[in-house]
Symmetry: C2
Subunit: 224 residues, 2 copies
Amino acid sequence: MYIERNMTAATTGLLQGGRTVEILQTVQLPGFVMSFTKDEEIFGEGETANFVYRVVSGSVRIYRILEDGRRQISSFCFPGDVFGLELDAVHGASAEAVTACEVALVTQNTLQRAAACDRTAASLLLRLTCRQLCEAREHMVVLGRKTAMERLVTFLRDMAVRSECGCLVKLPMSRADIADFLGLTIETVSRTLTQLERTGQLTLESTREIRLSRSLLADGEAVH
Amino acid sequence: MYIERNMTAATTGLLQGGRTVEILQTVQLPGFVMSFTKDEEIFGEGETANFVYRVVSGSVRIYRILEDGRRQISSFCFPGDVFGLELDAVHGASAEAVTACEVALVTQNTLQRAAACDRTAASLLLRLTCRQLCEAREHMVVLGRKTAMERLVTFLRDMAVRSECGCLVKLPMSRADIADFLGLTIETVSRTLTQLERTGQLTLESTREIRLSRSLLADGEAVH
DNA sequence: CGTTTTTTTGAGAGCGGTCAATGATGGTGG
DNA sequence: CCACCATCATTGACCGCTCTCAAAAAAACG
């Protein structure tokens, strides 16, 4: 009951807080928030999708695993990102905390009811999902058609843009996470980063901090 | 004017014809229909998304290309499939006719207006997009984590299910299309098919017709 | 029936994977 | 505070899957 009331508050914040996807993705959510420890499961593939989630702090990985343990991370979610939206269905992927994180959540029912009343809200949800689909297609190009070197460069540029940290990128995830996101092995990720450092395109300040050179951040796709 | 009236009719058919995604995806659409010849462009990446499309007959490929010509097909659309939905945005991918085809279309504006009036319609659109996102994630696993052999088997099984042709799968697309969908080369696609035939898992009746064995259609993932 | 395009097949090379060992890093308890 | 241990990251040697390049075979087309 307490939770229900708070989730409604969260919904209100989610839907009325912003009239555009941009606002929806950056505004802080009031209401029901859960905390997860590093590597803790948020939901599992096949579970009924009761909630829609939104990252408040920390980061989250969305992934699927094959029977033999091979894992493919389809996306990382950072503060402002919404995930877990699967209308009237079960979750088609699992979600785990990459780092300790806080996640705001709303029941899918509440969200549907709100969307039914507010046409702008419904439109927002659809736009949000369309954008995720577009990003998914973009990532398919990476997985299907790019070399290891190109995958890493694409990833680092994307992280630089998303974290808005200029050229010093702080990675919340391990090499294994990066490998499973890019469809590579940890060894190849490590070797490729080393190679990029040797050719002066970046500096590995620490394992989780990478300083990108201007040339690497530029749009020029000619990376060898 | 004529077109506008007909597109409204199409919208009505699209949204009231079915109350579930299943119905939406199988029902024939009345209204404004366009025909495309083999390999003709339906829309291009970067174009303003004015319409939402639905395959009536034939098949369509959705893809992105890199500057140097590498192509990644993110999905094939068959009769009943909806594509091109990108709310208030430009198309994030291109669409081409794989075979000569008929496509029903509705303006995005009309669709939004209809969705604003009919909460079920809005819900349908969202559900539709969620499903596509789920399929995209599934395909990422194929592209990032499966071997050439596993990719072909996954593809053939999927085609068998979608075409509902039992074990005789008719492929509307070329080897190049299959290669660009699976993140392989045409040579690898061809060689892998030959290998599957030599091991008795399928019969290449003709280039575009493949008879799958029972064992290959079964869920057993142990394919070598 | 000839031409063009698509598909298959072959030979060889290279990219990324596997296996293994070494080197960092970080957390825990003495 | 430091020693210890477990985990994570890097590096090396080698292998194999898939790509590249090339040619032949088959299919599609006019």
